[in-house]
């Protein structure tokens, strides 16, 4: 009887220990947390390739991204020369912080799944070419550094969008979500 108890007890301990190791199908969720950073401002720093002292900065700003207040477009325009080439730097800022936080570096660090796209209105003689690349294999364009090439006199809207494409970046603008969508008025004369 005593031996039977010993055998039953040891069998139970053994099976319990083994059974406890057989749990599968683990799952973990990293839930959303409140955002603590805004993207309030988009700047285009445009430098004439033929004249480095010819520098313009266009700025689109909306300090309260969550409300319905219209953005500040007072500096959201560019005046470009005809048939010229411009080197362009796109910058993203959080102007709700003091001093203003430059988020461009973070986007650069995460360039492998970010893409900046340009929507050029028909009739505006402007061509935008991205010149920087990420670390994907093969490397894909990013768009923080660009070249604008102008044609004849014209004017129209330039839409700048920052696309967040986590694990879906393929060089196209379509995948992912849009972190920023802003518009500038461009005049070429």
């Amino acid at each position: 009887m005593k031996k039977t108890r010993i055998i039953l007890l040891t069998t139970a301990i053994t099976l319990t220990a083994f059974w406890s190791s057989c749990k599968k199908d683990e799952k973990a969720v990293a839930p959303p947390v409140p955002e603590n950073e805004f993207l309030t401002t988009v700047e285009l720093v445009v430098t004439n390739a033929a004249n480095p002292s010819d520098v313009q900065t266009a700025k689109w700003e909306k300090l309260n991204p969550d409300d319905t207040t219209a953005p500040d477009l007072s500096h959201a325009f560019l005046n470009l020369k005809q048939n010229a080439t411009y080197n362009v730097a796109v910058k993203f800022l959080d102007a709700t912080q003091t001093p203003v936080a430059d988020i461009t570096g973070e986007i650069q660090d995460r360039a492998n799944y970010h893409l900046i796209c340009f929507g050029i209105a028909s009739g505006l003689n402007l061509q935008a070419t991205r010149t920087d690349h990420d670390n994907n294999t093969p490397p894909l364009e990013v768009g923080l550094q660009d070249v604008f090439t102008t044609g004849g006199a014209s004017s129209g809207n330039l839409e700048v969008t920052l696309h967040h494409q986590p694990n879906v970046k393929n060089g196209d603008c379509a995948p992912g979500s849009i972190d920023a969508d802003v518009n500038f008025t461009v005049t070429i004369n």
């Binding site: 220990a17 683990e26 973990a28 492998n112």
Partner: protein, 247 residues
């Protein structure tokens, strides 16, 4: 008359004493020739295999689990034998939250959901010398050193970024076979002529070289493991129920 009785008693006692000595000798010459047992218990891995650091590619995310197996020893002499062991080691998985949090940060998304696919486990075929040291009438301290093969399996995972189905990617489950060894001691108590119980403590070690496939990794971002070559080692604490055969 009295002295005759005393002589008779002494003769009887002498005969009894002689008979007892023969029985003791016979018992002393008996020893376990073979035992076959079912063994199981706790497997406690150590080292990098148990780490849960998202940013460390050596992290194996394994935790203490269990093992079960069949074992047998054939004794060539009273003390020496050869032992074989076929066992399954199943380790738990922990640190899934670290992985989910890490991917969330590295892909700058609002949320991630990570599912662990499969399990960390191994099937082991080991054989080696066995030494048994009697310490009491039914109590022995046994030692063994085993070597052989371990077929190991590394768990995979699937990561969903927010609710974007197209962005979901996986680290596939992987398998690898490697040399393994195990060394340990056991306290064996023979509960009867044909049954015994062993309390085993063994150290096990192997170092499989996993080659890992990743599915739908479109971009170079986040933790991405393409190989894993870390020791799988630790302690087993087992109970073995043995059927004994004496010579």
């Amino acid at each position: 008359m009295i002295s005759k009785k005393i002589q008779l008693c002494l003769a009887f006692l002498a005969m009894f004493a002689a008979g007892k000595t023969q029985a003791q000798e016979a018992a002393a010459n008996r020893y376990t020739k073979l035992y076959i047992g079912i063994t199981g218990g706790i497997s406690a891995p150590q080292g990098n295999f148990t780490k849960t650091d998202y940013s460390d590619p050596a992290s194996g995310f394994a935790k203490t689990g269990g093992n079960i197996g069949l074992t047998g020893t054939y004794f060539f002499t009273k003390n020496w034998g050869i032992n074989a062991l076929v066992s399954y080691h199943g380790y738990g998985f922990h640190g899934a939250q670290n992985l989910a949090d890490g991917y969330k940060e590295d892909f700058a998304v609002d949320s991630t959901t990570l599912n662990v696919n499969g399990s960390n486990h191994s099937i082991n075929f080991l054989i080696g010398p066995y030494y048994s040291l009697p310490v009491a009438k039914k109590l022995f301290v046994d030692f063994r050193l085993l070597g052989g093969l371990s077929a190991a399996n590394l768990a995979g995972n699937t990561v969903q970024l927010e609710d974007q189905e197209a962005a979901t990617f996986s680290q596939d489950k992987a398998t690898a076979t490697a040399f393994a060894w195990q060394a340990g001691a056991a306290l064996r108590y023979n509960t009867s002529k044909h049954f015994g119980v062993l309390l085993n403590v063994d150290y096990f070690s192997s170092k499989p070289n996993f080659s890992i496939e990743n599915t739908n990794r479109a971009n170079e971002a986040g933790r991405k493991i393409t190989s894993y070559n870390q020791p799988i080692q630790g302690l087993n604490v087992n109970i073995t129920l043995a059927w004994l055969l004496e010579n």
